[in-house]
């Protein structure tokens, strides 16, 4: 195999959809460093699980979202006391699904399913299409339970995301998601 064949396979040529409007939006917004989360914002408490958690709805969004995200409908979850962005979510343009950024570390776009829950680690983050999920905890090896931020994004995003704010010192033992009554409806166990 020649180097040309290998290079061809390394980064295949895709049939690309241009998005010039997105370029112009970004140009108007300014560079990534000067972007200000100024927009219009409505703070909402989420399920009473995280009263300190604000959900800010804004137009235009952080550059870290995948290019397939609909940046006209971005929802950002941040800690008001620090301004740290925990989660960003947006509808997936041209698809039935959503795009996300978790803790500025993990990003992607996910097709919608009727049900199902996915857990990723690290950072400890996931999503659930189960409408009943309201809260969650992670149990570490020593037995201590740490609450997760659980946020339901409505509208076209329509998914529940959950994330652990900090980092675990050691691997977790299990992650449990609960419904409104506190009943465990999804459990992930680390083997």
């Amino acid at each position: 195999m020649s180097e040309l064949q290998v290079l061809d396979e390394l980064v295949p040529l895709h049939d690309e959809r241009p998005d010039w409007d997105d370029v112009l939006r970004r140009a108007r917004r300014g560079g990534p460093r000067t972007r200000i989360l100024s927009a219009v914002a409505v703070a909402v408490c989420v399920f009473g699980v995280a009263p300190a958690l604000a959900v800010v709805l804004l137009r235009g969004g952080p550059a870290r979202l995948p290019s397939g995200a609909d940046r006209s409908h971005v929802a950002v979850v941040m800690e008001p006391e620090t301004g740290r962005v925990l989660l960003e979510a947006a509808p997936w343009k041209g698809h039935d699904g959503f795009c996300y950024v978790a803790l500025s570390e993990r990003a992607g776009c996910v097709p919608r399913k009727r049900r199902g829950t996915v857990l990723l680690y690290p950072p400890l983050f996931g999503w659930s299409f189960d409408p009943g999920v309201r809260s969650g905890t992670v149990t570490v090896r020593a037995g201590k339970r740490v609450p997760l931020r659980v946020v339901h994004f409505g509208g076209r995003i329509d998914v529940t995301l959950f994330v652990l704010r900090g980092r675990l010192p050691v691997a977790y033992r299990s992650v449990t998601l609960r419904n409104e009554d506190g009943t465990a409806i999804v459990i992930f166990r680390q083997r």
Partner: protein, 146 residues
């Protein structure tokens, strides 16, 4: 000027994203870098002095954006897809950053030496010498693994 930028973006998007993906080491980062690069070009278009071609100016911005994306992202690696159960090996790690960028611009964007030189701000002689060295390294490594 804005129309020219848009025309270049629409005409060359696959090549732009391919090069940016290769440099950034991740397709999502590469696509993002291209969008940010063009946004930057739109904002800074009045600073384009016309010393070289508009295309070379934009390519330089795209390459810089892709480099920044790779440096700020978590380490990722493009692994060649497996073929017949055997993954082809392309030891890009043996190349310098400059050699890799030249290879990507030459093969993915199909730029000639003059265009690559203009995009990276180097001489055509340097482009030729660097590409020859890169090819020698790749061929030698491919012979070793085949």
């Amino acid at each position: 000027m804005l129309d020219e930028l848009e025309a270049f973006y629409r005409a060359k998007l696959p090549e732009l994203r391919r090069v940016a993906t290769a440099i950034a080491g991740d397709r999502e980062l590469g696509c993002e870098a291209v969008q940010e690069a063009f946004a930057s070009a739109v904002r800074r278009r009045r600073s384009f002095r016309g010393d070289g071609t508009l295309e070379a100016w934009v390519w330089r911005i795209v390459v810089n954006a892709a480099r920044d994306a790779r440096r700020t992202a978590r380490p990722v690696r493009l692994d060649p897809p497996a073929a017949n159960g055997h993954a082809p090996v392309l030891p890009l790690d043996l190349l310098t950053e400059r050699q890799r960028e030249l290879v990507f611009l030459r093969y993915y964007a199909d730029l000639d030496y003059a265009a690559i030189a203009a995009a990276l701000g180097i001489t055509t002689g340097t482009v030729g010498a660097t590409l020859n060295a890169a090819r020698r390294t790749l061929r030698a490594a491919l012979e070793e693994v085949s």
